[in-house]
């Protein structure tokens, strides 16, 4: 039955009505509570991705793998992170659980160049896993300011003490625009506060409340410090 549902994908391209793929859509829904079907569907999607189908069809498959994919799909998706399908491949890898997908993105963040590199860095942040912190910390020092900014933003998304510790040297470093580093640090503090690590959050806020900081940063830090105080009291 799945074979029949995948048949239209071979001819699918820009402009083809999405209704042609209704069989696959229905299978994705049915796979929600059917592990065997989900596995079968994933294998069909992987096989399609490795076949000679259009770019749009591959993008579609990546979207579906983001919904039903498992580590089994990672090797195939990893081949796409440096291609024209990179964006949707990363979309899937951001959502597939397990260290395999995280490793692919981390490697891509280091090895790729240009916008693909920045995209991979953002995907590491989007996964929100602390395992990405070390790589991102290294990228903070990248000579390309866009790479460094993207790394700072991703560290903010990951949050936590380690991410904050990685960001702190960038704040202390001499010149350059620090606003994204500060934003990321504030995000780290907020995530720490949410997870009940009040002392750690407070230390970050305090580091940003000094008179040398811009007014809005001091205001945000002050609000954070008050929130820490309120949480400690609760």
């Amino acid at each position: 039955m799945l074979d029949q549902a995948f048949e239209p994908l071979k001819k699918y391209d820009y402009g083809t009505p999405i209704s042609e793929l209704q069989g696959i859509e229905d299978a994705v829904v049915a796979a929600h509570d059917d592990a065997a079907l989900r596995q079968d569907l994933e294998q069909h999607l992987i096989a399609s991705l490795e076949s000679d189908i259009s770019r749009d069809a591959k993008d579609y498959v990546c979207r579906k793998l983001a919904q039903v994919g498992s580590p089994a799909a990672v090797p195939t998706l990893s081949k796409l992170v440096s291609t024209e399908n990179a964006h949707l491949a990363r979309h899937a890898l951001e959502r597939i659980p397990g260290p395999e997908a995280a490793a692919v993105l981390t490697t891509a963040a280091v090895e790729l160049t240009g916008k693909l590199k920045i995209g991979a860095i953002a995907s590491v942040g989007a996964r929100g896993e602390a395992s990405g912190v070390a790589t991102l910390a290294g990228l903070l020092k990248d000579g390309d300011p866009a790479v460094a900014r993207s790394a700072a933003m991703s560290l903010g998304l990951i949050g936590g003490v380690e991410a904050a510790a990685a960001l702190q040297p960038a704040l202390q470093a001499g010149s350059g625009d620090k606003s994204l580093v500060i934003d990321a640090l504030l995000e780290c503090a907020e995530s720490l506060l949410r997870s009940g690590q009040t002392a750690e959050a407070k230390a970050i806020y305090a580091s940003l409340a000094g008179d040398q900081q811009p007014r809005l940063v001091r205001l945000a830090a002050t609000r954070g410090l008050l929130a820490c105080g309120a949480q400690a009291e609760a």
Binding site: A164, L219, T222, L226
Partner: protein, 458 residues
Amino acid sequence: MLPRLTSLLILVALCTVPLAVRADGSDDLVNQIIPLLSHPDREFRAAALEKVRTAAKGTAATQTFAAQLPKLDPSAQAALITALGDRGDVAARPAVLEQLGSSDEAVRAAALAALGEIGTPADLPQLAKALTSGSDAEKQAARKALIRMGDPAVVKAIAADSKTASPQLRAKLIEVLATRRATGELDAIIAATMDDDGGVRTAAMNALGQIGTPDRLAAMLPGVLKADRGRERDNAERNVAEVCKRISNEDERGEALIAALDTIDAARRDELMPLVGRVGGRRLIKFVADIATGDDASRRAFGVDALGKWPDASPADTLLEIADKTTDASERRHAFLAYVKVCAIRDRRNDQQRLERMKQAMKEARTSEEKLAVLNRTRTAYDVEAMRFVRPYLDQPEFCQMACETIVELAHHRQIRDPNKAEFDAVLDQVIKLSKDEEVVERANRYKRGETWQRGRR
């Protein structure tokens, strides 16, 4: 995840950065908040005030915050008082009461408003005083506080004061009772409708219009009779009519009002006919029509007056019949003008039906005054045919000015003016030429230019 020890080391490293808020033992929330209350930047103050409202629980913290009031400038004082009110802890009340003596109006107003949240019935005298003798801001704050105070004893105390205070204060307290929807105090409000002071009576009637219940209709009617004729009586009638409207069934509404009227001394009952007219409805129209067509001339006048105040055109034929049959010129005039008035009411009829009534009225009109009334009221029929009906009267000097005014009123309505622009332009040219009223001419010029709302310089 790094080990805990590493986390702590990171923490130590982070803490080497200069801090704006000290962490040297004074790092509890209250001590964080206090210096920010006097921060020169209002957004920093706002951050602290938000915590005064919602965090640092407990009486001790409240008292600590309240103790800062004398140290702050008036602007910060007012903000802190408001926050303490929102905090809702009565422990702040003594400090807030002290601020009622502030030389700054904003501080006094904030303190009055805060009593709405943390005040007690013991504060009523001060709030009542501010309600009548304070500045506008203080009056508003005191009113807000009296409305907000949650203690059930407050309503009883306000109701008691509304019987004994000065007339000005009584009126204001009755307004407060109405806004609080104090339906348990209707007796006190109804009693106030018989007050010797017109302001108190009006406030009481307004309150009944807001919260009165139909089962108390009979008790409200003496208040209508007590009201001075004119504006106060009209207001009283309108408010009692509002109470009647709370009975959704039209016939039941009529029965309830008739039952209430039966409790009134027969000698004065007819004075309430205008109220009956305001309520309207099938059941009441017969009741009033019987009076309006009866043998007693003085009662007939009340009946005609009532029919003239009907909320729709249903008594039109009755009024025309009275106007036709009577031999008394004054009664004819009274009935005919009432007839024209109800014919013109913008009720459920459409504009064509309304215009037909006006044309019929013009045929029935006997005097210039009656014809002028018809021309005047024709402006409520928003139809180009209404303009065509009025236009010939531009040629009659006696009716020319009224016709000009009605045509300009009709031209005001874009929906009839725009589709008939050429015709309206022509008639507006006539108005511009003939009218002796500058405003009418100015409006006619504007409507010709398609400017409905732009006012010209006078």
